[in-house]
Symmetry: C2
Amino acid sequence: MIEIYLLEQLEAFARCGTLSGAAEELHLSQPALTRSMKKLEELIGVPLFERQKNKLVLNENGKLTAEYARRVLEQDREIAGLVRAFDRRNHTISIGGCAPVPVQQLVPQVTALYEDMTVSQEVHPDAPLLDGLQDGTFQLVILHEEPADKALYWVPYGEEKLYIVLPKDHPLAGREGIWLKELESMNILLFSQIGFWYELCVDKIPNPHFLLQNDFEAFGELIKASNLPVFTSSYFMEHDPTPDFYTENTRVILPILDQEADVRYYLACRLDDKKRFSALFKRISG
Amino acid sequence: MIEIYLLEQLEAFARCGTLSGAAEELHLSQPALTRSMKKLEELIGVPLFERQKNKLVLNENGKLTAEYARRVLEQDREIAGLVRAFDRRNHTISIGGCAPVPVQQLVPQVTALYEDMTVSQEVHPDAPLLDGLQDGTFQLVILHEEPADKALYWVPYGEEKLYIVLPKDHPLAGREGIWLKELESMNILLFSQIGFWYELCVDKIPNPHFLLQNDFEAFGELIKASNLPVFTSSYFMEHDPTPDFYTENTRVILPILDQEADVRYYLACRLDDKKRFSALFKRISG
DNA sequence: TCGGATTACGTGCACCGTAATGATC
DNA sequence: GATCATTACGGTGCACGTAATCCGA
């Protein structure tokens, strides 16, 4: 049986062209390589090298062997990674969502129900989420549109509505609601990790001037320290009942009137995972 | 890097179900297997076994690893054989022919011209010869029909004509020639290794009664000791000028009149081997 | 009590490195 | 002299075996 280390050394020699080069690359001595190549040659039983005076060159047999070696090495190297990935898949539930809010809500529920599992989370647009569900990157995804794919199982997963917070002295502050297009060219504070909401704002607000901030603490400080318009949502209004800018009475909160600002979420999994997550769906749906 | 011996041991364990079984099969001790499995597990970095009290069982990771191991092992084992076969192909010229006579003529010519090559020979019908030429089984073939394939190069390679030797008191002995169909139901001595000639005789002689003999010495003795009809050919008549049954004057030699008994041979190779064998073709064609 | 897995311990071989030699540019 | 392959020699890691222990049918 030809051991891997021999194939590895042959492959390195085939690439480098000299034993010394290969030895350096493999952090081995030249004599070690000489011996290994001799041994390999003996194992296979036919000459693999043309031995010129002080040069060693692969002959046709050697080139062929190197080619086979490459294939075996590649497959051998893959094993550990593939098995680790397989193991990981069986011990982690990967959640993908189109926005952070519903994902943050889901994670503790999943963690509680599947104690021995690791739960990972990512935020992406709907399309890659659906792809990821199919290729196994995600086991659960939260979308903001009803999945049409018949190979998926899904349930409604709450709603979220967009509001805007304006200073009381803002020209639009007296309104009962705001259309996104009315925010044209306006400076608006925006937390950067808000998933699909960002695309929505970019789509609907002409010539947007977003002041992006991806540190949540700093974002809060900026809100307090400025009187810039900022988005919020039904979720925050319910779960964070006394933030400074609500009670200071210097700002008003107005609903966004666009239909797209009123979102329903859907929790989906592959049909063949429906059983696996039945407890989760039960808990969510009633 | 996972060495082959580890995969080999895992694969044996996967097949046997117990370490002791695998140890016996591999001519190793149980402790050696225990250690190797531990080592493999550590290398990959995820559990591969379910350790019951005094039983070791592959878990899902382990089964997957064993599956990968099988693939790598198979490919690794193949290497030596494939390279040896490749080497052999480059150092042997395999000659196939439809009959022994022209092959026996060709072998010394090839041997003389390609000194460092091994020359092998086989006799087969034309169809497998042509197949073998294409798939590399043969580099040179001798046919008894002109090859139609445009991907082949060929030259005429002599002729051979069939005769029959009859006792002088045989009813047909007075004829100037014989048709094969006239040999109906006749007992005829036949050397078995005569290639396509055998098929020809079976085809053309109704209800043939061949007394087959595959030992050449014994065949000669049988000719001398009996007065049975026997085939010969122009080749033997030219190269073996004084065999007993010619000079004893108790037998007559009559030509076979069938058109198929008058054969022209053709030496063919693949077009991409034409250059390689140009010296041979030159010598043959003059 | 036997069969199977594991642990502990000692050993030998196989692979390695260093040093020296040979050979070519 | 520089580079490269090979040979010679001495060292060491590691895979192995033996023996002992544990555990369950």
